[in-house]
Symmetry: C2
Subunit: 430 residues, 2 copies
């Protein structure tokens, strides 16, 4: 039986391997012949999820006035309307005065924050990172390609550190930071990490909150809390509050926290939040005020109407979970059935976020992505979850099942599984 | 009679001057006693103008699909939706493929463009302005304070050049650029210039389009066409098309043109346009794609519905003019009555835009602004229309009459006129 054979690949004879490869090739060809066009690439909400927020357009009923009487239509107000500052503060469990509400992309706030630190400095021109010969960032891997692109753009050298089941390997992180004052930052997606789905443990969060104590000057933690309310279960893991831990340790100026409604309301038309210390926020606002006339307050007001309380927002997220959860279950079912009793693949069960991170045996990820593409299943390019697009072991593949229908996820995963099996057996054959 | 006396101030005796000052002080005190609170500072649309676009919220009727079938709600598309590219192209009379549609602020696109040129370069890292020891910009004065702030932020040295009735003094501009290759850019508001209201002549536009031929490498014209459709009369002056002139001269890579709907729809919730050569646009999009997930396409779609054609947009602008024109007329009436037959003030008749630029006699602008503030009329700080906030002759004051009601403009201008008269007579007294 195929499943038995796959669980003891290394003990198979050359003939047995050959027979297995031949059976898998037939299976692969059969998939290919269906001529499907499926896509498991980017972490976008599906149309069905976007429909949940369609009340946004028209929700103002002609009343463009904010809670404190501001005309949302006109210029003015660099840090957003007060009702959304309050909402952001509740989501992140921080003080409203430590919140800035931006435009439609937290990525824009992250880029702006790196630019602030690198080009202008958070503590005057002399604190700008670009005053130093080399600037490095710690990048837990696998991680998020758009974080890496920002570093690459500013010429920041990326140093990888492995993810564990509790977050980045903190012994390594601390040792590296102690040894090298050129390390100026670290990227973190602390809840349902992109792509591994890991939730950082309380101990990890505390140690990250205190990194500034052992780091060189002007060290910043980029805390991308993109999935803080994106639970798939009713009993989600909790994430420790990095800002209060940092405040307790006196390191709050090292924390820059981000989140957005991109995967809550409309992905391209949401609102983004920055949480930072009062000092950092003042600096950030000053530069932002040079580069824009302020965020779109009308869209912020729409969001305040759609989510009048954080409870309303959480109830809304349950509807997302109802749509997403079966897709994740389907992916996990295929992986369990195919690889539950062998070593061809490794992954974590996922309780939130948008991704499942899958590791093939070393050296096979690119091959699997190519095989899948040829059989009509588009996957994120192998290596995309690593800085510079280079996965040193060529084993990580990010699976994003939110956009396709259930039937499509099912069909795509059947093909994916065959591709992994075929690639592994062919490697074994040499 | 006061008006006779003011027209021959220099020939008055000390006693006559003293009597005049005393009469004006009484008049000023009477204004002060009314305890008014009026504001002629920033160029914002009034509520009445904003109301014109209130159909925006709800205009989609549940249909979030763009002309080419894209779901506007989701991620994707760094350069905006095609129907708005077409609209921007019609407004500026350029090719749609030379248009990028951004978020709610053309200022953000300008900042991004300066950052691109200064930090990253439009032609690779070696072309970045910050590779040079000194970078200078030509700033026609009086001009727009937010342009100057961007330069100051990037440490770009600002060199002033005087405005004439046909635009910047082009003989000076060309001579300065020929003599100094450190001059890397020039700020221009070519139609209804902020604050003078000047429309650049055809000859001026052509000479600016061709500046790159005599400038050092990587020279850029920042062409802020903020008021291109903001006419106050039915027979507006036309502005030559800088992009076609530049294309004819082979200098199109030196032109970066901006405009927005900020003063067309909702000031803080509009859409912004960048027009640039194909090469520049590709470079710009690459960096923009690192720093954001793309503009808010839902809001772009709303604007496409509100302005399905450029004619619809122009009809809409006539309604703005109906609201604005009487306010400008009121300002000009006061200025003509008070200073039409003397040399106490100089200004231009204005046919569009948001401002009237007023020159006192040298050394009096700050004094007038202070006197007006004490009598309840807030004016833009003297000097704001010059780089670094320093008007060397201390004479320019920007008057912005769009926000107050007609009665308020009338009352504010009566006070303003008295302040100018009083300050001038007191200066004469020594």
């Amino acid at each position: 039986m195929q499943s038995d054979a796959l669980s003891q690949l290394s003990s198979l004879s050359s003939d047995q391997l050959q027979a297995l490869a031949s059976a898998l090739t037939t299976e692969y060809q059969a998939h290919k012949d269906k001529g499907l066009k499926l896509d498991l690439t980017r972490g976008k909400p599906s149309s069905e999820q976007l429909d949940l927020s369609d009340a946004l357009d028209g929700i103002l009923n002609g009343d463009y006035t904010t809670a404190n009487g501001t005309d949302a239509r006109n210029y003015g107000g660099i840090d957003g309307i007060s009702e959304l500052k309050a909402l952001g503060a509740e989501i992140l469990d921080v003080k409203p005065e430590q919140i800035l509400v931006g435009g439609n992309a937290s990525l824009a706030l992250m880029f702006q924050a790196v630019m602030q630190a690198h080009v202008f400095g958070f503590n005057g021109p002399e604190s700008a990172w670009n005053k130093e010969t080399t600037v490095k960032f710690l990048c837990p891997v696998p991680g998020y390609d758009r974080h890496f692109s920002i570093c690459e753009t500013f010429g920041i050298e990326m140093v990888t550190v492995p993810m564990t089941a509790t977050g980045p390997d903190m012994d390594q992180v601390e040792a590296m930071i102690k040894a090298d004052s050129q390390i100026k930052g670290i990227w973190c997606v602390p809840k349902y990490s992109n792509p591994t789905g890991v939730v950082y443990s309380d101990d990890t969060v505390k140690r990250i909150a205190e990194l500034a104590k052992i780091a060189g000057p002007n060290f910043k933690v980029f805390w991308d809390n993109a999935y803080i309310v994106h639970d798939l279960t009713d009993t989600p893991k909790t994430l420790a509050n990095i800002m209060s831990l940092a405040e307790a340790a006196g390191t709050e100026d090292s924390i820059l926290q981000f989140c957005s409604t991109s995967k809550i309301s409309h992905a391209g038309a949401g609102v983004a939040f920055l949480n930072a210390s009062t000092a950092n926020l003042a600096t950030f606002k000053k530069l932002l005020g040079i580069g824009t006339i302020g965020p779109d307050k009308v869209n912020q007001l729409r969001h305040a109407k759609l989510f009048p309380t954080v409870d309303a927002l959480k109830a809304h997220m349950k509807k997302h979970a109802e749509i997403l959860q079966p897709r994740f279950e389907c992916v996990l079912k295929h992986l369990n059935e195919a690889f539950g009793d062998n070593t061809l693949g490794a992954w974590e069960s996922v309780e939130g976020g948008y991704f499942i991170s899958f590791d093939t045996q070393p050296g096979l990820a690119s091959k699997v992505v190519t095989l899948a593409a040829e059989a009509g299943v588009k996957l994120t390019p192998a290596g995309a979850t690593f800085p510079y697009g280079k996965d040193p072991e060529d084993k990580n593949i990010r699976i994003a099942p939110s956009v396709p229908t259930m039937d499509e996820v099912d069909a795509a995963m059947a093909i994916f599984v065959t591709c992994v099996q075929l690639a592994t057996v062919e490697q074994q054959l040499g």
